[in-house]
Symmetry: C2
Subunit: 561 residues, 2 copies
């Protein structure tokens, strides 16, 4: 029906289902501006025609507006938005995001492959395009305790059942370099494979690329990104809540490179969305920095689509999905209207639609640690001995490996508490960067196994923080020295809330305020806490099993510094 209908609409033999009239189209394939033209959509939300004189059953006036294709977030974790799919969609489409590539490995670490089923079902209920990835690294490393493991057999089953789904980010770089048999079995012959190779260079990069990985979102320096581009990777420029790489990688955004780039958020919370925006903010900042508009808009949509093998989006052209943004100011990337698969965004969120979304009920009781006591969080002796200390850097997932005495300025105890009911491990270490003067912060989000992460100034405050999250079945908490708390419950797998984005943004604002009052200067304190355990990002990390030398990919021995 659609083919026949499209031909008739294109020839003017029947009106479009919806026609955007007299708009200015920015063509990302060529850089041309087409003035005063119409975009005709069919009843299935595809673009049937672009040109003058198209009428529609519904007509949208486009005079004075510029049309560009919907934005593509080329790599993100839904869980880091803290929202369930329905609320995520509602929030990000407002910023023009109409496609997102979703690696649900956070939830998979907690609940196993049920996470993939959940996300697939949700994606079918959504109007925006959520492309589910099957995560090949659950857990991310053997150096931690996760709730579930996705082994090669499970992955093969998923690949057979859903050959159309690509694999999520391949984080286990050492596993590749060591030709780990289980990992080889997972990736060999995959149809699409997302990369994750921070600071991997030279021969190791060559070796990593043998897996067929297509892209990488972990470049934090220009030199690193240039090498990856040269070796054939699509470089996804990331601007998350914790990791922010846009500024460093702006010089990459040239006409030469433009078709080999993409934008992504990886991990971005609703507070930053509300305060700064989403991919629209990346486009805006790029143009302000002098990047050619063609390059900025390409990278936000068309280039990402091409790199991802998505041939049905990224252009305002016949046959493409009706993912269309109408801009009142293209230099400032100011959105006037958003169409998602041909439907005006404001019409998407009507009553009754919720029924199509899967229930979160099975994921509501996942924090299974015992009640914690101050004795679980002993302070290290202040004897002047040097200890390995994790140096947290604001706005980066990379950490420094420091050697400092326990009483050096700004050094605090940090702990990771196993919470899947497996073994009750508590990993302990020291961290610098949170700079708390009093109280404690805790998070049940703790990449990627999502054990409880606690940083604090006293054993008492740390135990209180951990127990608060045990009671709420997950979330972020700031415990003040007077025992009062600010808590954002995240009961869905200990990772997500069922509240809407603006509610979460408000609560995050309160939490950040509380953290700041405790002395923490970090832009996103809870996200940075949540990345302390991520043992696939250099250099020093802490899991429930102890401190990890990421470069050597092994646990530190007790007393090793």
């Amino acid at each position: 029906m659609s083919l026949q209908e499209c031909i008739q609409i294109a020839l003017g033999q029947r009106p479009a289902a919806l026609a955007i009239q007299h708009v200015r189209v920015f063509h990302l394939a060529t850089g041309e501006w087409e003035e005063d033209t119409d975009i005709a959509l069919d009843s299935q939300g595809r673009i049937a025609a672009v040109g003058r004189g198209y009428d529609g059953v519904e007509v949208v006036p486009g005079k004075g507006l510029v049309a560009v294709p919907g934005f593509i977030d080329a790599h993100m974790h839904l869980e880091s938005s803290l929202m369930t799919p329905r609320n995520y969609e509602r929030m990000v489409t407002a910023y023009g995001v109409t496609t997102a590539v979703c690696d649900l490995h956070e939830l998979a670490n907690v609940v196993g492959e049920a996470a993939f089923d959940y996300c697939l079902q949700a994606s079918q209920a959504m109007a925006m395009s959520l492309l589910v990835r099957i995560s090949p690294c659950v857990p991310a490393t053997p150096l931690e305790t996760s709730g579930f493991t996705v082994d090669a057999q499970c992955l093969r089953r998923w690949r057979e059942r859903h050959p159309e789904l690509g694999l999520g980010e391949l984080m286990n770089v050492p596993g590749v370099l060591n030709r780990d048999g289980e990992l080889m079995a997972k990736v060999e012959g995959a149809s699409f494979l997302d990369g994750h190779c921070p600071m991997v260079t030279g021969r190791a990069l060559n070796a990593y690329l043998a897996t067929g990985v297509r892209n990488d979102h972990e470049s934090s320096t220009l030199e690193e990104a240039r090498e990856k581009l040269r070796r054939g990777l699509q470089v996804l420029i990331r601007e998350g809540s914790a990791a922010r790489n846009l500024e460093a990688l702006l010089p990459l955004m040239t006409l030469e490179n433009s078709m080999r780039l993409g934008f992504c958020t990886d991990d971005r919370n609703p507070l930053d969305m509300e305060e700064e925006g989403h991919l629209d903010a990346m486009v805006r900042r790029a143009i302000r920095a002098g990047i050619p508009p063609l390059v900025a808009y390409r990278v936000a949509s068309y280039s990402a689509a091409q790199g991802l093998g998505l041939t049905d989006r990224g252009l305002i052209a016949p046959g493409m999905r009706g993912d269309i943004l109408l801009l009142s100011d293209w230099k400032e990337c100011r959105l006037e209207r958003v169409f998602v698969a041909g439907v005006p965004r404001e019409r998407l969120f009507q009553k009754g639609r919720e029924d199509a979304f899967p229930s979160e009920e099975p994921f509501l009781h996942t924090v299974k640690c015992r009640p914690m006591t101050p004795e679980d969080f002993p302070l290290p002796p202040r004897d002047g001995r040097l200890h390995p200390v994790i140096g947290v850097l604001d706005g980066s997932l990379l950490t420094e490996r420091l050697s400092l005495p326990a009483d050096a300025p700004g050094v605090l105890p940090v702990a990771v508490v196993e919470r899947h009911g497996k073994n009750g491990n508590v990993g302990r270490g020291l961290v610098r960067g949170f700079a708390l003067k009093a109280g404690a912060l805790a998070s049940s989000v703790g990449h990627d196994s999502h054990n409880l992460c606690v940083v604090g100034t006293s054993p008492q405050a740390m135990a209180e923080a951990a127990n608060a999250l045990r009671e709420s079945q997950g979330g972020f908490v700031a415990v003040r020295p007077d025992g009062t708390r600010v808590l954002l419950p995240l009961p869905v797998g200990g990772l997500m809330s069922q509240e809407e984005g603006p509610v979460l943004a408000d609560r995050l604002r309160e939490l950040h305020q509380a953290a700041r009052e405790l002395g923490c200067p970090l832009h996103a304190p809870f996200l940075q806490l949540a990345f302390v355990p991520l043992a696939v990002i250099p250099h020093l990390k802490l899991t429930d099993r102890g401190l990890v030398d990421v470069d050597a990919f092994r646990l530190l021995s007790p007393g090793e510094c």
Copy 2:
């Protein structure tokens, strides 16, 4: 094995199967030049690593040479090379072509779907990558008599059996615009669809694009090509033996557009290959004309690959096919060495390899017309009345529709004789452009149904020419007024020879010389004769059923002018 081996080679744990050392690599993703580096290949001919210090079981010195990826001919008909696959491969790899997208619809018009089987089997025997397309328009139109028909049912069977194969060029534009049911069934849901839409513009272009067509190689003007790019098509710049569009489309070759273009030959004979080259000649001419080298080399390989959805070629990077050209002079595109899937070209053509190729035996007796007599080719009365005349233009497949008396200067009788043993039709008309002073030319190549095409100065010479091809079971022939002939037999389906390219080039040179001596000024007289029946290229054509008004897509009535 390859994954494990590639990792080991990349890490320097074992030598490459072949290492090209100390070469300068031109990176088409970024435009960078990497100096004095090595390319390490695995035993399956894939690139395992690029970087310094790689050793190999076999070592190729690359000092002073530039490495670029092998060229991709994004649309061509094997039959127009006049060669069988084994000879085609031998010839074009010498010009750096390592991938070709082959639409075998010429042979399919003669022998049916057996042509696809033949081509598939041949592609498996070849070292270069021959990507077979299943032709959706056999015959091209209902206005002619072909040997076979590929109907929707046959096409569906092929799509089910080989979902990996795309569909060949969709030539029946009127069928699309009229929503022809059979055609709709053929194209709906196709995985990949090549386009063919000369001079299609505006609403008709929008409608044609509804089919999901991805590219087009028929642009002859800049304006036409720009509109197609804007509407999302990949524009393949063609430089065949008859149709030559490079010069007109050079201004399209900008950095902005570069990833949306490709090169193709469509129809190119061994004589032009020998005298001018192949895609290497297009690169050379583009650079001489001032096109940035990055754009020229991209269009010849990487951009074509991207547009075709081929993610394993087009770059010198890990994971890519080892299709590598070593240039002694990159400005002049002078090839020093060619590697096809990791194998040095000169090593490809060894004895015994022929056995893997399919036999042409089933296609050797396909010219089934009766013996022709001078009465079959009556001269029209020279009474001053106006007749429709096909105006052939040198170097173009487009023809003019003229109205001239039969005795106007340069006007000659032309005939198309049905040769599949179906109905004995003879279509008759007048043509201007061949300018013969004596004798006749004939061809059993007659796009796309491949009936016999004859142009001549006398009924006698025309009958002789037709009969010569009947005896030789196909070919090109020039008949001189003294009755002597120059003949190039093409016994494989009446389209191809089993001789090697240089032999064919010699014979074509003799044929062209003979045609010139008869007065014909055309660059490729037999190819232009062969395109006289192609009723999907505007404006006036002749099939075995009569004169065709291509714009109206109908046969002219007798006496209509």
